[in-house]
């Protein structure tokens, strides 16, 4: 077979004897597709990671087990997994669970101190429970140790805001990534929240893309009022933290509002400030006039479905949600992505982020091997592979965003996507105040929004009630 030929070509490429385009053409000649070429390339590229110092073969023949969530990012990783296996000689098995039940599985697996999983996918928010619960490992000890971390791992290549967002010293209210922060997880792929809109619909109605929140509210209302069956803007509304963290918190932060403030070492709810109340009024008004009819049951997939099926003109949600709706749907090709600064007086968007990260179980018996995996998975080579050859849509490494293939691919079929990213990434981070009660207060918050939406309680009163309730809960646990 032509495997020798392939090797030679790739070698040639790495010694810059030939360019990438030429490589791909010549590979094609000997019957190797672009994706396969990508994989082979990565195999070689991985060697640079491997060359970086640590003895990656240390655990040859051993095996590690991962707990993963069914997700395109995972699919991207799995496609490239053999490269890790051949690099380390480790055998990797993994359990995949549907997102709907994934975190239940993680919670119970960790709570029972089981050693069956070495590393697992998680969001940053969840680590605010796992960390203090001493269920996951502070990864600084590995990152900073040249014996186990390759020189070419280039930790600082990972976007600053994201690195910080996964790091916390465990004290409620202290700054993410601040001094003494523990690196509870390593960012891998993420999503930031901006506007995606349907140019066909906005075109039909002769509406320009929204400039800021007040503008969005009016335009959304206008779309809904058009009575063409579609509505203005899709945002989540289910009774859970998922409703708070995308568009809502991004806009909230853009107005300079905070969820909590620290007073005398104690957290104090800050949702009931005057400004916050104004903001809430706007938000509720937006949903009531321009939002989905069943908003209180809307989860991410309803938001996505509506955009893809042309039932909503815009969404203010995760950028990758809009990304995936732009292929294989009714409105495929009609979607445009827009950086969105909600506050008219703000010059830049401030998207809150969801970060799919990799964390290590405290109860793992193969911690170092697990680190090898995390290192490889979040390393430049694998992220590049995922971004170029699969759907690792929002890779966490600045360098990957500069890879031309990735850029051209995005530009080609996802107009504005790259731009909205570049305009936002600088200010993209978690805008929540880190603390153990994150799920509690976000759930209460969402529930309160639902009551305001249903006009069961006026916004001002509702927020005071919410703040008071949270105050009590915080006191109970003494943070």
């Amino acid at each position: 077979m032509s495997s020798r030929k392939q090797k030679d070509l790739i070698e040639a490429y790495y010694q810059n004897k030939i360019g990438r385009r030429e490589l791909i053409q010549r590979m094609a000649k000997i019957g190797v597709g672009a994706a396969a070429t990508g994989f082979l390339l990565n195999a070689t590229a991985t060697r640079t990671l491997a060359a970086g110092g640590p003895d990656f073969k240390k655990f040859k023949g051993k095996s590690i087990k991962l707990l993963m969530n069914k997700h395109p990012y995972l699919d991207a990783l799995v496609k490239n997994l053999d490269n890790f296996k051949s690099m380390t000689g480790l055998n990797v098995t993994y359990d995949v669970f549907p997102e709907d039940v994934y975190f239940d599985k993680v919670t119970t697996a960790l709570a029972s101190k089981g050693s069956q999983y070495d590393a697992f996918m998680t969001g940053a928010y969840q680590t605010w429970k796992y960390g203090p619960a001493r269920q996951i490992v502070d990864l600084n000890q590995f990152i900073k140790d040249p014996k186990v971390t390759s020189a070419s791992y280039n930790w600082n290549d990972v976007t600053t805001g994201l690195r910080a967002s996964d790091a916390w010293d465990g004290k409620a209210g202290s700054e993410l990534g601040g001094p003494g922060a523990k690196q509870w997880a390593i960012p891998w792929g993420f999503e930031l929240n901006n506007i995606a809109y349907n140019k066909r619909i906005l075109g039909e109605l002769g509406i320009e893309p929204p400039k800021n929140l007040p503008d969005l509210i009016e335009k959304a209302a206008k779309v809904s009022a058009a009575g063409k069956g579609y509505y203005g803007v899709g945002v989540r509304g289910s009774r859970s933290w998922a409703t708070i963290h995308p568009g809502f918190l991004s806009a909230y932060a853009n107005y300079g509002q905070k969820d909590f403030v620290v007073k005398g070492g104690k957290l104090k709810p800050a949702m009931n400030t005057k400004e916050s109340k104004e903001f809430h009024k706007m938000w509720i008004d937006m949903i009531q006039r321009g939002g989905p009819k069943n908003w209180p049951t809307y989860t991410w997939y309803e938001v996505g479905n509506d955009l893809g099926a042309g039932n909503s003109a815009m969404i203010f949600d995760a950028d990758i949600l809009g990304y995936f709706q732009n292929s294989g749907t009714k409105e495929a090709g009609n979607l445009v992505y827009l950086p969105f600064a909600a506050n008219p007086s703000a010059d830049k968007p401030t998207p809150n982020v969801w970060i799919w990260s990799l964390a290590m179980s405290q109860f793992s018996k193969m911690k170092e091997a697990a680190w090898f995996f995390i290192q490889w998975a979040t390393g430049t080579e694998n992220c590049t592979f995922g971004a170029v050859n699969a759907d690792l849509v929002d890779p966490v490494r600045d360098s990957v965003w500069k890879v031309p293939e990735f850029q051209t691919r995005l530009e080609k079929s996802y107009p504005g996507y790259l731009n909205q990213f570049q305009k936002s990434i600088g200010q993209s981070k978690i805008y929540f105040t880190p603390q153990q009660l994150f799920p509690e207060f976000t759930t209460d918050w969402a529930a309160m929004l639902q009551q305001m939406y249903a006009k069961q309680i006026p916004v001002d009163e509702g927020l005071d009630k919410l703040a008071a309730g949270l105050e009590r809960k915080l006191r109970e646990v003494g943070i």
């Binding site: 994706a35 990012y73 699919d75 359990d95 997939y301 294989g328 699969a390």
Partner: protein
């Protein structure tokens, strides 16, 4: 005469309503299973679409096509898990529960009612109450991620149901029939085996079927107490909601497939169900 006719008409009308209410959603799901996600996500929903079997192909072949290539699907494995787990759970419950039910129905013995009630009370120990500790212990005794462990836990669902339903049918059988059999010279065991159980069979069938269905539908135990190798269909179906979108067509198809085994079982048991329990109700 015309009164009888009227009654028949009304009866038919009511039946129609009932059938519509209970079967329309199933019918709709069946339609969805032959549609692409695009066809399903139309406003307003409509009946006109070009049927596709791609959803079924994906499930059965174990490969689903996406914009970035083919991804593996473990649905059939999930289906097998569900079938195997539920069948074993019900079998175990029958072996354990029928004799117990017989004891409660036939003998008055100290603590009898208490034991019976305790057994029932297991039914209302809410799963999430026992899940965490259960996982701890299962790991210690090596039952974590084993079929045996799950079948055991499933007894919480199936055993009380079978026990209490079957008990009722046993009690409806006149003891004299069994006395007569004993006097013919048969042991208590034979009289249970040859008289009580055959006469209660319709009840046992009904209870067994229901227990099977409940076992089939529960997934929280498997989720927490097992790896992805032992997950039931429910979890399998949920796997088609991912960040890249929710595959309603595939979920619908998976739902249709997941109903088939139970339906077959139901059709089989039907013989006993509609046979009526007139045999069972031989009173002294």
């Amino acid at each position: 005469m015309s009164k009888g006719l009227l009654r028949r008409v009304i009866r038919g009308g009511l039946l129609l309503v009932v059938v519509l209410f209970f079967l329309f959603p199933m019918f709709w799901v069946l339609l969805m299973s032959f549609q692409t996600n695009q066809d399903i996500l139309r406003t307003p929903p409509s009946l006109t679409f070009t049927p596709t079997i791609s959803n079924y192909v994906a499930l059965i072949s174990g490969e689903i096509q996406t914009s970035v290539g083919t991804l593996p699907v473990y649905y059939m494995k999930n289906l097998w898990n569900s079938a195997f787990l539920s069948a074993c759970a019900v079998a175990m419950s029958l072996v354990l529960g029928v004799p117990a039910a017989y004891a409660f129905a036939r003998f008055k013995f100290r603590l009898g009612e208490d034991i019976a009630f305790t057994l029932l009370s297991f039914r209302f120990a809410p799963p999430i109450l026992v899940l965490l500790p259960l996982q701890l212990y299962f790991q210690d005794i090596g039952l974590y991620d084993t079929y045996l462990g799950l079948v055991w836990v499933y007894q919480l669902i199936t055993l009380p149901l079978i026990l209490w339903i079957v008990r009722g049918y046993f009690e409806d059988i006149s003891p004299d029939i069994e006395h007569a059999y004993r006097l013919d010279g048969h042991s208590w065991f034979r009289s249970m085996w040859k008289i009580a159980i055959p006469l209660a069979r319709p009840g046992i069938a009904a209870a067994g079927l229901l227990a099977f269905i409940f076992a089939w539908n529960s997934f929280i135990f498997a989720l927490v107490l097992g790896s992805s190798d032992v997950q039931p269909v429910t979890v399998g179906s949920l796997a088609f909601m991912t960040a890249s979108g929710i595959q309603y067509g595939t979920i619908a198809a998976s739902l249709v497939l997941s109903v088939i085994p139970t339906l077959v079982l139901a059709l089989y048991t039907q013989r006993y169900l509609v046979e009526g329990l007139s045999l069972g109700a031989v009173k002294g």
